[in-house]
Symmetry: C2
Subunit: 144 residues, 2 copies
DNA sequence: AAATCACGTTGTACTATACAACTAGCTCTA
DNA sequence: TAGAGCTAGTTGTATAGTACAACGTGATTT
C-alpha cells in the first residue's frame, strides 16, 4: 500500500501545482481571452451555440457569473445573442465571426505550447497520459 | 502524426478542464483554507519555514500577493513570523501548532478524496500517471 | 387566472491577484 | 566610510472572477 499512497500523493500534488499555475499561464499566453472566457467561447463554438444556463450547469458556475462573462464577450464582439423564437426568455449564444477567429488563434497558440511542452514524449506515453487524464476527470466529475 | 495530435488535444482539454474546476472544488472541500493558502502553508510545513520571497518565487506570485496571504494566515493564527537575527529584513515564516493541525486535517481530507477518486485504479496505472504528471509539470516549469 | 417556475440581469460583497510607490535594512564601491 | 544601489516586505490602488440575493419577465401548471 505504501507505493500506492506515494503515487496518490504525487498525483495530488502535481494536479494542485498545475491548477495553481494554469490561470496565470493562460493570462500570459493570451491576455485577450482569460481561461474562463476561452472555455466558454470554445464551448459555444463546439456546441454550435447554447444558452447561458447550459454554460452555468456545465461549468458549475453561477448564472450571474456566466451572465457577466457573456456580457464581456459580447462587448468585445466575440459573442452574439439570438432570442429563441419559441421561448422569449431564452438567448441562444453564438460566437461571432470575429469571436471564432480569435478563438481559433488562441487555440492554435495553446496547441503549439502544448505540443512544445510534450515534444519529447513518445506516442505511447502521450496516449496513455491522455487516457489517464480523461479517466481522472471523469471520476472527479462524478465525485463533485 | 494524427494520433499524436489527438492525444495532445485531449491532454490540453483535460488539463484545462481540471484547472477550471480546481479552485471551486478546493473551496467546497475545505472552506477554511483556499487552494492558495493551503499550498503556501503546506510549503512552509514542508520546508520547515521559509521567507515570503521564496514563496513568491516558487509559486510565481507577486510578493504583495504573498504578503497579504501570509497576513491572512497569521490573523487566523496559522502562521508565525520569526525575524532572522542575521538579517533584520527577513521574516522566516513557520506554521504554528494550530496551523500545522489544520493543514494536517485538510491534507487528510484531500488525500481521502483523491484516494476515493482513484480507488479503482491499479497500482501500475497510478504509478505511470504520477510519473507523467511530474514530467509534464517539469516541462511546464521550464517553458513558463 | 393565479401561483409557480425558468431564464437572465443587476446590486453587493469578497477573494485573489498585479503593479507601483514606499520604508527599512543590507552590501558594495569609490 | 558614506552614499548608491539592492533586497525584503508592506500598503495603496485597480481589476477580474466569483457567489448570493433580489428582481423582472416570460412560460407552465393547476
Amino acid at each position: 500500500m505504501a507505493h500506492r499512497d506515494d503515487s496518490v500523493e504525487t498525483i495530488q500534488q502535481e494536479m494542485t501545482a498545475f491548477a495553481r499555475r494554469a490561470r496565470a499561464s493562460a493570462a500570459r499566453m493570451h491576455p485577450e481571452l482569460s481561461l474562463v472566457s476561452y472555455t466558454l467561447l470554445a464551448h459555444l463554438d463546439d456546441q454550435h451555440g447554447c444558452r447561458a444556463t447550459d454554460l452555468a450547469a456545465h461549468y458549475l458556475l453561477d448564472k450571474s457569473t456566466v451572465s457577466r462573462q457573456i456580457a464581456a464577450l459580447e462587448k468585445l464582439g466575440f459573442v452574439e445573442r439570438r432570442i429563441d423564437p419559441d421561448d422569449q426568455r431564452v438567448q441562444v449564444l453564438h460566437p461571432t465571426e470575429k469571436g471564432a477567429q480569435v478563438l481559433a488563434d488562441v487555440t492554435a497558440r495553446r496547441r503549439l505550447a502544448f505540443h512544445d511542452r510534450l515534444a519529447d514524449w513518445n506516442e505511447d506515453d502521450l496516449d496513455r497520459f491522455a487516457t489517464y487524464l480523461e479517466r481522472y476527470n471523469a471520476a472527479q466529475e462524478r465525485q463533485d
